[in-house]
């Protein structure tokens, strides 16, 4: 081989994969610890402040103040559990979509999947409360995540078909379809909130900006199978997502059943996004910002990226929710105000960066 002498090759400094794995494991451990800390801080803060020692007391059932105990169990803990599920699911959904569309700008809210989910949920609520109040099954809350799942699935599948040109994603199409679907969904949701006076529909701002305010154990239990399903199952396809980064044809040549995997990932994503949206509305930018931050921390390898994004997403959402309910206490801000506050500049920054890399097409 001209120009290459073996000794020079061997003496190159090298990072062993063992070292990289250890570093990545450490990052995950630190994130897990941060998640615990964030959760405890969030448990303490709010309209009723619970001192840290009372948090432990409430948990063990030995709190000095019984009011602390009920706030802990009935309000704070389910809300944090919901934050964990939704933050984790939205972030993992972001990772999967970005891997699937082969573009770091894909995000469940941006491409319209969240709007589709919200529309599904709103549709059921309006049917139940305005048009068919006599049909009890429509009022079953368990129908909400399913309807949202269906809505998210429909939109994701549609966008995926439309923006896929010969195995590559046309990014402009992807984002523009998202704009169109979001506009349509928002107007329909607006119409629905106008038609219905039911408290469950709440306001347009609940659907478009999101809130964890509706958290209770029933909601947590209904969301959990969808969100945990996404978070726990997604890493199975980490290797496939890595191969997909090369292109769909390339992943096929590496032995992955690309079409089947794409379908599975779209369904998983829609399940997580749909269930999240059904009870918390559309929370913007989490699915965009978290995967990106995580990639710069832990690298683009999806086998590590997915669990990392789940942890960071949970931390971020619990922290944002804590801010949303304490900043103007006793009033609550929609959580989307916080997430869009840091997400929008971030998105613009990424757009500019990607334009420089000329990934448009």
């Amino acid at each position: 081989m001209p120009g290459i002498s073996p000794p020079k090759v061997i003496s190159r400094p090298r990072i062993s994969s063992y070292g990289i794995c250890r570093r990545r494991g450490l990052i995950l451990a630190v994130l897990a610890l941060l998640l615990v800390v964030t959760s405890v801080v969030s448990l303490c803060l709010g309209a009723v402040k619970i001192p840290p020692e009372e948090v432990i007391g409430a948990f063990l059932g030995t709190a000095a103040d019984s009011r602390h105990e009920s706030v802990f169990w009935q309000l704070r803990l389910p809300r944090i559990a919901l934050g964990f599920l939704v933050g984790g699911a939205l972030s993992v959904a972001g990772v999967l979509m970005q891997g699937l569309f082969r573009n770091p700008l894909a995000d469940p809210a941006l491409i319209g999947a969240s709007s589709g989910g919200a529309l599904g949920a709103v549709f059921v609520l309006v049917l139940a409360h305005r048009f068919f109040p006599e049909i009890p099954i429509l009022s079953d809350l368990r129908l909400l995540p399913l309807a949202a799942f269906a809505g998210a699935l429909l939109v994701t599948g549609f966008v995926q078909r439309l923006s896929n040109v010969g195995g590559y994603t046309a990014v402009a199409t992807l984002l523009l379809v998202g704009v169109a679907i979001n506009a349509l969904a928002n107007s329909l949701i607006g119409l629905a909130t106008f038609l219905s006076t039911d408290a469950q529909l709440r306001s347009l701002s609940f659907w478009t900006l999101g809130s964890l305010g509706g958290a209770n154990w029933q909601v947590v239990l209904m969301t959990a199978p969808f969100c945990l399903g996404l978070i726990v199952l997604a890493p199975i396809w980490g290797g496939a997502l890595n191969a997909l980064a090369l292109g769909e044809a390339e992943a096929g040549h590496l032995g992955f059943a690309v079409e089947k995997i794409k379908t599975i990932l779209v369904v998983l994503t829609a399940a997580g996004v749909g269930a999240s949206v059904a009870f918390t509305g559309i929370i913007l930018f989490v699915g965009l910002v978290v995967p990106h931050l995580m990639r710069s921390l832990i690298g683009p390898d999806h086998r590590w990226l997915i669990p990392g994004a789940a942890l960071l997403g949970a931390i971020l959402l619990i922290a944002s929710d804590t801010m949303a309910r304490t900043m103007l206490a006793p009033a609550e801000l929609p959580i989307g105000v916080i997430t869009a506050g840091f997400g929008t500049p971030f998105f613009l920054f990424m757009l500019l960066r990607q334009r420089r890399k000329a990934l448009w097409g």
Binding site: G252, G255, G299, D301
Partner: protein
């Protein structure tokens, strides 16, 4: 032994035949170059031969079994395909990309040494820890080449192996073009069947055992370089005035072109 076999393969898209009744065999131990002018259907034929697209008519089989009957992972262990490179959207390191070649074998993480060996062979080991988004086209091509090398295995194995490369040297400088083709030829000497789409006629004649000349989706000639390269044929296929001489450096024909 015939490794890859195409029988009367036709691919039509809205009535137009991009590949028209092509019959082609690839045996283990030979390097076959696919040549032809732009739009002759080389890449389409390669996609048909590797199963990325299904022929409208005809059949492609690999080791005596129809392509669509192969489990994709089983196929990926025996055969590597390198399409014309695409952009990798995330900041993977070059080594990580190379190790993706081990995915069908399920040992991507533990074969770092294998990856580095392949990178040394395609002369890109110095790029191992660079992120691929910062690499040039030629550097990326060498990384991808290393990836398909680790996919089929560097050392001669018992299983017959097959390599299909679509213009793998289009962005390389002359030195790297030669070393890449040497690697392909060495693999063929070890028993692999190698099919390469090339543009450079002289490189093809110098390294390939057999040349397949394609025009308008049809095979015009299939045989040893000396048999395929006639002044008249090259002239009409590429629409040029061609002169065929002996390559002074090796036992192969060489083509000079006058517009």
């Amino acid at each position: 032994m015939v490794m890859l076999s195409a029988r009367a393969v036709t691919y039509r898209i809205s009535g137009k035949a991009l590949v028209d009744g092509v019959t082609l065999d690839l045996r283990g131990g030979e390097l076959v170059a696919l040549l032809g002018p732009n739009g002759a259907g080389k890449s389409t034929l390669l996609k048909l031969l590797c199963g990325q697209i299904r022929p409208t008519q005809g059949e492609v089989s690999f080791e005596g079994r129809a392509l669509q009957d192969w489990p994709s992972r089983e196929l990926a262990r025996r055969r590597a395909v390198l399409p014309q490179s695409s952009v990798v959207p995330f900041d993977f390191t070059a080594l990580e990309i190379v190790l993706l070649g081990r995915s069908p074998h399920g040992d991507g993480g533990i074969h770092e040494t294998l990856g580095r060996e392949a990178m040394a062979k395609t002369e890109c080991l110095h790029l191992a820890d660079r992120t691929v988004t910062t690499l040039s086209g030629g550097e990326m091509q060498r990384v991808h080449l290393a990836r398909v090398l680790v996919q089929v295995g560097l050392k001669p194995g018992n299983d017959p192996r097959c390599l299909m490369l679509d213009e793998p040297i289009s962005n390389l400088d002359p030195a790297h073009q030669h070393s890449a083709l040497r690697i392909a030829r060495d693999l063929a000497r070890d028993g692999a069947g190698v099919l390469i789409v090339l543009h450079d006629l002289n490189l093809a004649a110098q390294y390939a055992d057999r040349l397949v000349l394609l025009k308008a989706g049809k095979v015009l000639a299939d045989g040893a370089p000396d048999a395929v390269f006639t002044e008249e044929r090259i002239g009409s296929v590429f629409d040029v005035k061609a002169t065929v001489v002996r390559n002074p450096l090796c036992d192969a024909p060489a083509v000079f072109v006058d517009r």
